[in-house]
Every structure is written in structure tokens, then in C-alpha cells.
């Protein structure tokens, strides 16, 4: 495959590296070029520098980040470190991972207009482009809506529209599908393919090629990863007595609107249970109800075999930064615990791969490490028999997802009930003992993962026939 010459490339990087202020080592060096109409996928595991590389290709590095840029990055023919950032963004658009975090305005219309205002267009030209963009991206009926009321997929489409309204020649996307369910992600892929056919150079950074594998003429670049040592998976120094959580006719209303309705199921300790469904199907609400954070009608009974203690469930929130505030991992784990079973503590720390990070400030951990830290802090609570995890695989690479799966299997082996809400069907099929399918607040399927999942229900062409096992 011939690479476009730097003269024809919209974005060109040669031996480009960036060392953040205060860091000893640099991210890179990278070589890359993207010409009009090309579709690039740059993949790599967590920590290999994808996000930094993405930001180098659109000029956010070095303009918004302190550090030293080595090598050359040319955007639209200009060097990225000397051209002003506002000019670079007229050539390259950038879409980050979390669409919700990129919303800037009170209405969909204003969200798109935000970028157009910065182009210095006349009012008439800006409104014409606004109308054209709303129509192109199917957002006309949402024009006056608050962007926060849209679904994740719709928000990502809006961000894409807001960026593309400026008609950049290239588009860089940093893990654009991480927060989306499969159906929304496939929709986003088709929108990107359409933009590519209009001549835009698309560069997407992802953990792996799964969602983009079918794109015609896709050019791939795999970033090297550091050697990842195999983690230790000891048995936990605890055994949870058998128990069950029996749910009958569960109904939850939030803001006067039914979110869950008629949920009947039994969750047994010692099992890994995945709840899958599209964004907005009620997965998080179900988890929160199981741990007692929402009022409900119906019955949720927890029955233990020994009859002495009522088993309790803990919840690991989606964003681990909600909990972190101590000076080290060790202090974070031990905070608020009046008595600590040292054997249990050591076994949890080893199981979750946190031994070498005990003295590390928690905010300096990677996202995957923070998620495991959050899980550990909940596990160490006394009297816990089960754990609920909300989207634990979000934004995680294959290694981290596999690691998590093995941790959960170990927890289940010790008798814990592990309930996971996820839109990652592939992971759920591989690592869980049961899969519940939640659609619009109703439990529609409860399957052993090694039987056919109803692909139509999830609109998930990514679950290919070879995953159906009998």
C-alpha cells in the first residue's frame, strides 16, 4: 500500500513525538499521513499513546498541552506548532470519546452554530450551513431540543454534525464508539463512510478493528504496546455462603416515567450475570435498584442459606473518579474501614492487580486501574455478598476486558454474585454464566450465553453466527 506523499496529505506526521511537562518519557515517535478520501484506523492497547497521537494530528497537542513536541506535524500544509490552533481546526475536525462531555450549548441548533460562529461567516451563510447540516445528519426534528436529552448515539451524531458543519478536510476521532451501544456505533460508522466518500480524510483511533473491519479500503496502523505481564489470580481469602436474590414484578419509575416494568428473575450467588441492552434500556437503573438506590414496587428478596445474615450487594459506579480522593491506593482502600482483615485485604489487592500500585496516587492510575481500585474499595466493605458493576468495560482494551472477566470469575468462585450492566455483548457472552436482555425496561430474554442471542433484538450484526454454539 503506497502512502500519500506529504505534499498531498492533509495531515502528515514525521517522527512526531510529544513529552508532557514533568514526564521523563515521550509518547511516540509516530509517522503518518492522511490524504483526502482515505479512511485510517490507528489501533493499540491502553497506554500506547493513541489519545496523544490523535491530539497531535489535530493540533490540540501542543497548543493545549504543556510539553515538548519533537519531529514534524503538518496540518493543511502548515506546521502544527506554529500555526494558530483556530486555523488548524478549520482543516481538521476532532471528535473525542465521550459525546456528552463535548456538548457546549443549550439546543441542538446552537451546538452546530457554535462552530460556525467561529468561522466568521456572514449570518446568512451560517444559517444556510446550519440548515444543510441539520438535514444531512437527520437532526432537524431535534433542532430546539436540549442536547442532553438525546441518546448517546444521537449525541455522537450531533457532535459529528457540529464538527463537520465547519467543512474540515480531515476528521480525527478518539475512540468515538466507546460510549455507544453496537447499533449506534454501526450508525456512526456508516456516517463516517459517507463523509469519506465526500472527500474527507478520516482517522479513527480505537482499541481494535472490530467495528471498522468492514470499511472498504481501510488503512490500518497498529501502535506498539509495552509488554503486559500476566497478572496473578489468587483465590480470595473468603467464602461467601450461598444466597439468592429473587425479584418479582419489579417496577421503577423515575421522574414519573416507568423505566423498569414487570422484572422477574432470580440471581444466585456464585454466578456472573450480564445485563445487556441498548443505551437507555434501564440497565443502570436495575443495578441501582438492586443495591437500594431507587424506590420500587414489587419485591426484591435476598435469601441466604444460613439464615443469619442478609446478603448485601455493592455497586461499582461507571466513573471511578467519583470515589477517589486519598493520597495513595493503599490509603484509598483502607479509608473508612475501622477493622481490616489483612488476609482478605492482601488477597483482594493481589486479585485486582494493585500490589505494585499501592503507593501510587490514585489520580495517576490509568482508567482500567482506577476501575479496579473502585471495585476493590467496594469489595473490602464488610458483609458484602455481591457486586454490581455498571459498564466496567467502557473504554477498555482487550487485555483489560479479559483481566476483568477473569477477576469476576474468581469472585464468583468465592461465592460472590456479580451482576454486570454492559452493552458489550461479545464480552458478556464470553465471561458470564447468564445473560439478561433488557429492552425498554423489560426483561425479554434470559439465556445461557452459549445459546443464540436474539441478534434482531439488539440489532447487532457484530454478533456473528460463529458465536452461536449449541
Amino acid at each position: 500500500m503506497t502512502r500519500p506523499a506529504a505534499t498531498t496529505a492533509v495531515i502528515a506526521a514525521r517522527a512526531a513525538a510529544f513529552r508532557y511537562a514533568g514526564q521523563a518519557s515521550a509518547v511516540g515517535p509516530f509517522d503518518f499521513a492522511a490524504a483526502a478520501g482515505e479512511f485510517h484506523l490507528i489501533s493499540g492497547p491502553s497506554g500506547c499513546g493513541k489519545s496523544t497521537f490523535a491530539r497531535m494530528l489535530c493540533g490540540l497537542v501542543p497548543h493545549l498541552y504543556r510539553g515538548e513536541l519533537a519531529g514534524q506535524v503538518h496540518i493543511g500544509g502548515r506546521s502544527s506548532d506554529t500555526a494558530p490552533l483556530w486555523w488548524l481546526t478549520t482543516v481538521v475536525g476532532f471528535v473525542a470519546q465521550n459525546p456528552r462531555a463535548q456538548l457546549l450549548s443549550s439546543t441542538v441548533r446552537d451546538e452546530i452554530m457554535f462552530g460556525l460562529e467561529n468561522l466568521g461567516l456572514s449570518r446568512r451563510a451560517a444559517h444556510e450551513r446550519l440548515g444543510h447540516t441539520l438535514a444531512t445528519f437527520g437532526l432537524e426534528r431535534f433542532a430546539e431540543r436540549d442536547p442532553r436529552s438525546l441518546s448517546g448515539g444521537e449525541q455522537q451524531r450531533l457532535i459529528l454534525a457540529a464538527v463537520m458543519a465547519r467543512q474540515p478536510r480531515a476528521l480525527v476521532l478518539d475512540e468515538p464508539f466507546a460510549m455507544l451501544d453496537t447499533a449506534s456505533a454501526m450508525q456512526a460508522v456508516s456516517e463516517l463512510v459517507a463523509l469519506r466518500h465526500q472527500g474527507c480524510a478520516i482517522t479513527a483511533f480505537e482499541h481494535g478493528p472490530a467495528l471498522l473491519a468492514g470499511v472498504d479500503g481501510l488503512q490500518r496502523l497498529a501502535l506498539p504496546a509495552a509488554e503486559i505481564p500476566d497478572e496473578d489470580f489468587p483465590d480470595l481469602a473468603v467464602e461467601v455462603p450461598p444466597f439468592r436474590v429473587v425479584v418479582n414484578g419489579l417496577r421503577v419509575e423515575l421522574g414519573g416515567r416507568p423505566v423498569l416494568d414487570g422484572i422477574d428473575c432470580t440471581l444466585a450467588g456464585g454466578r456472573v450475570i450480564a445485563i445487556v441492552g441498548t443505551n437507555g434500556s434501564g440497565k443502570t437503573t436495575l443495578l441501582r435498584t438492586l443495591v437500594g438506590l431507587h424506590a420500587y414496587t414489587g419485591r426484591v428478596n435476598t435469601l441466604s442459606s444460613d439464615g443469619h445474615q442478609t446478603p448485601r450487594l455493592g455497586l461499582c459506579f461507571q466513573n471511578p473518579d467519583c470515589q477517589i480522593f486519598n493520597a495513595s491506593v493503599r490509603q484509598e482502600l483502607r479509608f473508612g474501614l475501622s477493622e481490616i482483615d489483612e488476609d482478605f485485604y492482601r488477597s483482594v489487592v493481589r486479585l485486582l492487580g494493585l500490589v505494585r500500585y499501592e503507593q501510587t496516587p490514585p489520580l495517576l492510575l490509568s482508567e482500567g486501574q482506577k476501575k479496579r481500585l473502585a471495585l476493590a474499595t467496594v469489595l473490602l466493605r464488610p458483609g458484602l455478598s455481591g457486586i454490581c458493576l455498571d459498564e466496567p468495560t467502557l473504554g477498555q482494551d482487550a487485555h483489560q476486558r479479559r483481566f476483568l472477566g477473569r477477576i469476576l470469575k474468581r469472585l464468583a468462585a468465592a461465592g460472590y454474585l456479580c451482576v454486570i450492566a454492559t452493552h458489550d455483548v461479545e464480552w458478556a457472552v464470553k465471561w458470564s454464566d447468564e445473560v439478561f436482555l433488557l429492552q425498554a425496561g423489560r426483561l425479554t430474554t434470559r439465556e445461557h450465553p452459549r445459546t443464540t442471542l436474539n441478534c434482531e433484538d439488539l440489532r447487532d450484526p457484530a454478533v456473528s453466527p460463529h458465536q452461536q454454539l449449541r
Binding site: 490540540l60 483556530w86 457546549l104 473518579d321 470515589q323 473502585a374
Partner: protein, 237 residues
């Protein structure tokens, strides 16, 4: 926990709602500046302002505000009456009422988006207007995040917000368990917004705001009425 007034309840539609925010800001500033007038003039200003409050359909909010200051008003009135005289007591009470309610008209009938547009047209730097409007838009989200932090810490057995003077150390530790993650999340959010805004060319020198406020008949009527009241007050001295 909190219900930001202008987010959960849009300002009620009214004659004043359609006025330009700059007009309302001027009227409120003029009302507040008028507190130094003598009693007779003050009564006229108070009457005119009350009519505006009624036209804006925000009388319940204004009365609620006055109720919160009721103790202060009553104590001051009584003390002034006893020690100085009734005229003075009434004067001070009216001045205090105008001071307390003087900007209610503006804040109760203007959305932050409108304030952002008004600030930009008054040549306030766009980045400052944007920062303010962004902060307001995210009030509700920050409130949700705060609640999530409380729930997440409670999931670890940290009881909040049970603050107590009897256990100051534990209270401080519990407050820190919420405030520190809240500052971290807020900072991350501010950074995401910075990147998103910069990636869409926010600091471009050729930026042109799409929001254009124009004075309408309502504004001309209000400003004319304000000038009329001022002229009458000046004439009747």
C-alpha cells in the same frame, strides 16, 4: 438537592419576558440606584417597579424573597420607628425592599443564554460570557455528579452528609470525601469543554456571534416609560 430556578422552570411568558435583557438590566440598575431618593419619590419608584413585577408575573417569587427578609425588615422598622420616627422607618423599609427586590425582574425573566448574548453585545469578551453561560448550563449536571459522589462514597460505607460539631475531624474527613472528587470531576469537565470549544475554533479572531438582540417595541415602551418616570421625579422636587 437543588433546583436551579431558571433551568427547571423556564421564565413564564409575559410582556417583560420578551424585553431585551439589556433593557431589564438598565431598569433594575436604575431602580437600585433610586434607593437614595426621598420618600415621596421612592413611593413612585416602588409603585412603578411593582407594576413591572406584576407585568412580569413574578410576584410570587418576589414575595417569597421578601418573606425571607421579613425578620430583618420588621426589626429594622420597629427600631427606626422607636428611635428616630415613623417617616424614617418607612423610608428605610421601602429602600430595603427595593434593594432586595431590585434585580428580581432581571434574574427571574432572563435565561443564561440571553444573558450571554447581552454580555457579548455589550462588548464583554466572548470567552467570559461563554464561561459564565457554560457554568450555568452545567449547574444541574454538577448537582447530579455531586449526588453520584455521595452515593458512591456511601457504597463504601462513608456516611454523608452527616456533618456534626461533636465530631469535627470525622466531619471534615466526610466533607473531603465529597469535595475532593467533586473538584476532580469538575476539573475534568472543564477540560473536556476546553478541548471541545478549542477544537471548534472558539478563539478565532474572526468569530461572529449568531445571537443578535434587537430592541423591539416592548423595549422602546419600557425605556420611554422609565424616562417619563425619571422626568416626573425630577420635575416634582
Amino acid at each position: 438537592m437543588m433546583r436551579p430556578r431558571a433551568q427547571c422552570e423556564l421564565p413564564r411568558d409575559s410582556f417583560l419576558r420578551r424585553a431585551d435583557p439589556r433593557t431589564k438590566l438598565f431598569l433594575c440598575a436604575a431602580t437600585s440606584a433610586a434607593v437614595m431618593l426621598p420618600l415621596a419619590h421612592l413611593a413612585a419608584v416602588l409603585t412603578a417597579y411593582s407594576l413591572l413585577i406584576l407585568a412580569a408575573r413574578i410576584e410570587r417569587q418576589v414575595l417569597a424573597q421578601l418573606r425571607r427578609a421579613a425578620v430583618l425588615l420588621i426589626v429594622l422598622f420597629a427600631a427606626d420607628w422607636v428611635w428616630i420616627g415613623l417617616d424614617f422607618a418607612v423610608l428605610i423599609a421601602v429602600r430595603l425592599i427595593l434593594l432586595i427586590t431590585g434585580f428580581s425582574l432581571f434574574f427571574a425573566t432572563t435565561t443564561p443564554d440571553e444573558l450571554q448574548a447581552a454580555l457579548e453585545q455589550m462588548r464583554v469578551p466572548a470567552r467570559l460570557a461563554f464561561a459564565f453561560a457554560t457554568a450555568y448550563r452545567f449547574l444541574h449536571l454538577l448537582d447530579s455528579e455531586w449526588r453520584e459522589i455521595v452515593e458512591a462514597q456511601q457504597a463504601r460505607g462513608i456516611v454523608v452528609p452527616a456533618l456534626s460539631w461533636r465530631a469535627p475531624r470525622q466531619s471534615l474527613a466526610r466533607a473531603m470525601a465529597i469535595i475532593v472528587p467533586a473538584v476532580v470531576l469538575t476539573t475534568q469537565r472543564a477540560w473536556s469543554i476546553t478541548e471541545a470549544a478549542a477544537a471548534r475554533g472558539f478563539e478565532s479572531p474572526s468569530r461572529r456571534s449568531s445571537r443578535r438582540l434587537r430592541f423591539s417595541r416592548v423595549d422602546r415602551l419600557l425605556l420611554t416609560a422609565a424616562v417619563g418616570v425619571a422626568a416626573c421625579l425630577l420635575a416634582y422636587r
